[in-house]
Amino acid sequence: MASTLSAGEATALEVRAGRDDTVNRSSRKGFFTDTTICIGCKACEVACKQWNQLPDDGFVFTGMSYDNTGALGASTWRHVAFIERPVALSTQDGGAFSWLFSSDVCKHCARAGCLESCPTGAIVRTEFDSVFVQPDICNGCGYCVMNCPFGVIDRRESDGRAWKCTLCYDRLKEDMEPACAKACPTDSIKFGDLEVLRETARARVERLHENGMHEAYLYGADAADQPGTEGLNAFFLLVDKPEAYNLPPRPVVPTKLVKETWTSFAFAALGLVTVAIGSVFAARR
C-alpha cells in the first residue's frame, strides 16, 4: 500500500467503507440520532452549514444554556438542543443534575406535512425516501411552514424560497453519507438504511435498559410509534419527554385531519349557494 493516498483513492476508500457499513436491502435512508452519546459539540451544525454554504443566522446570545442557535430554520438545518435538568440520569452519579444534548433535524416524515401541502409540487420524495425542496420550483408561498408539525422548514426572507435539510441529496447521489453524520465524532448521528437503523435503535434501547437507563426510548421510530406522521425517517433515542427537547409529543400531519374540514367547506359552499338563490327568490314579492 502506498504511504499516502491520492484524493481519488481517498474518496474511493471512503465510499467503500460507507457502503460496507450499510446493507443495501432497501433504498429508504434516514438518520437514527442516539442522544445518549451526543456530546453537544455542534460539529453537525457547522458541517451542514459548510457543505450547504448556508448564511449565518445572526449573532444572538440567548441565555438558553449553550444553545445560541435556537431552532431549525431556513438557514439552520441542524440544531443542537441543550437541556439542563435538576434531576440526574439514572446511570450517572453527579448530583441531582444532568445535561442533555440532542441534534435536531428535519424528520423526513413518512407522511410529510410540507410535501402534502406544497401547491407547486416543489417538495418531492426522492429515491432515498427523503423529503426534498426543489429550489428551482419553490415560489415561496410559505404554506409548508405552517404545515410542519415540528417547526422545521421556513422561508428565507433574503431569498424568498423555503429551505430545509436535504438529507445531503447531492452527497447521497455520490454514495456518500450526509455531512452531519460524517462529522459527528461519536456517531450519535447514524446514517443508513432505515430498516437497519431501526434494528440498531431497538437493540440500543434494550441494551440501555439492561444497563439501568430506563428513561431511554425511541421517538418516531415507526408508524406504530407515531401514527400522526406514520414514522420518521430521522428518528431519535431520547431520555426525557419530547416537549423537553421542543419536540411535539404526538405530532399529526394536518392532512390527516382535513377530511372533516373539506366536508364543512362543502356544506358551507352549498349553503352559500342556497342562501344566494333563496335571497333572490324570496325578494320576488
Binding site: S117, P119, N246, R250, L257, W262, F267
Partner: protein
C-alpha cells in the same frame, strides 16, 4: 414508544414548538377581497338563475352588475395581494404545475384560476347577444360555483395547518369564512343606493351572512377554547382585542340592519359596520393563529387531546 404522560409545563425555554406563518397583511386582505368576490359571484349567478323572466332581469340588472364588478375587482386585486406575498412572485404560475387535492392551497390556486377569469368573462360578456352572451352566461354560472368555493376554501386553507387555534376549530372555520364573505359582499353592496326588489335581495343575503358570521365565530372560539392554552389568545393581547372588535362591529351591523328605517344613511352605516367587522375578523383570525403558534404549551395541550385513533 413514548409512554410518558404529556406535560404542558415542560417546554424548551418557552420557545415556540412550531413556526408562525410567514404571511403578511397581504393574506388577510386576500381573504377579505377574495371572499367578497366569491360571495358576490355566487349571488350574481343566483340572479342569473332567477332571471329567465326579462322583467326581473331588468330589475336586478344593476345589482347583478355590481356583483360582477365586486367579483372582478375582488378576485383580481386579491390575486395581486396573493402574488405579492410570495417569496418569488415571478413564479406564481408554478401553483398550477400540479393538481394536488391534499393541498388546499393548490386547490385554491385552481379555484382562483377559474374564478377570476370567470368573473372577468362574466362581466364582459354576460349582457351581450349571441355567442359572446352565451359565453357570458356560462361563465356566470361557472364563476358562481367557483365563487362559492373561493369564499370558503380559505377556511380550509388555514385549518389544514398545525397552528393550534386553526386546527382545533377546523370544523367551523369554512363556515365562518363563508359567512364573513357573504357579509362583506352584502356590506359593499349596501354602500350603494338600491331599488326594490334588489334592496330586499341584498338585505336577505346580508342578514343571513351576518348571522352565520356571528354564530360561526362563537363556535370557532368555543372549539378552540375547549383546550385552555389553545384558546388563551382570544382572551388576551392584541389579537384577542381585534377579535372582540370584529364581533362587536358585526353585531352592530346586524342590529342596524334590523332598524325599520329605510334611509340611505342607515343602510350605509350598516354596510360600513359590516365591512369593518369582516375586515377585523379576517385580520383577527390571522393574528390569533400566529399567537397560538408562538405558545409551545398550546401545541402540547392540543396534541394531548388529539387521540391517535381519530386520525385517518
Amino acid at each position: 414508544m413514548n409512554r410518558m404522560p404529556v406535560d404542558a409545563d415542560v417546554t424548551y425555554y418557552g420557545r415556540p414548538m412550531i413556526k408562525p406563518t410567514v404571511w403578511g397583511v397581504d393574506i388577510p386582505l386576500y381573504y377579505y377581497l377574495g371572499g367578497a368576490a366569491g360571495a358576490a359571484m355566487t349571488l350574481g349567478a343566483a340572479m342569473q338563475l332567477a332571471s329567465r323572466d326579462p322583467i326581473r332581469r331588468r330589475e336586478l340588472r344593476k345589482l347583478s352588475a355590481r356583483c360582477h364588478w365586486i367579483g372582478i375587482i375582488g378576485s383580481s386585486i386579491g390575486g395581486v395581494f396573493l402574488i405579492h406575498d410570495l417569496g418569488r412572485p415571478s413564479r406564481f404560475l408554478y401553483m398550477l404545475r400540479v393538481f394536488r387535492p391534499t393541498s388546499p392551497m393548490n386547490m385554491g390556486a385552481w379555484i382562483l384560476a377559474f374564478a377570476a377569469p370567470g368573473a372577468i368573462s362574466t362581466g364582459l360578456f354576460i349582457n351581450r347577444r349571441g355567442l359572446l352572451g352565451a359565453l357570458g352566461e356560462v361563465s356566470g354560472y361557472v364563476s358562481g360555483l367557483f365563487g362559492a368555493a373561493l369564499a370558503g376554501y380559505t377556511g380550509v386553507l388555514v385549518s389544514n395547518t398545525v397552528l393550534p387555534i386553526w386546527q382545533q376549530s377546523r370544523r367551523w372555520m369554512p363556515v365562518l369564512f363563508v359567512g364573513s364573505a357573504a357579509t362583506t359582499a352584502a356590506s359593499i353592496l349596501e354602500l350603494f343606493a338600491e331599488d326594490e326588489p334588489a334592496r330586499r335581495v341584498t338585505e336577505a343575503f346580508g342578514t343571513v351572512g351576518r348571522l352565520v358570521e356571528i354564530a360561526a365565530a362563537k363556535k370557532v372560539e368555543q372549539l378552540a377554547s375547549a383546550i385552555p392554552k389553545v384558546g388563551e389568545p382570544f382572551r388576551q393581547g392584541a389579537p384577542g382585542l381585534l377579535w372582540k372588535a370584529a364581533s362587536a362591529l358585526t353585531i352592530a351591523s346586524f342590529v342596524v340592519s334590523l332598524l325599520p328605517s329605510k334611509s340611505m344613511k342607515k343602510r350605509r352605516l350598516g354596510g360600513l359596520l359590516g365591512a369593518a367587522g369582516s375586515l377585523c375578523l379576517r385580520f383577527a383570525v390571522h393574528y390569533l393563529g400566529d399567537a397560538s403558534a408562538r405558545d409551545p404549551k398550546a401545541t402540547i395541550q392540543l396534541q394531548s387531546h388529539e387521540l391517535p385513533e381519530r386520525v385517518s
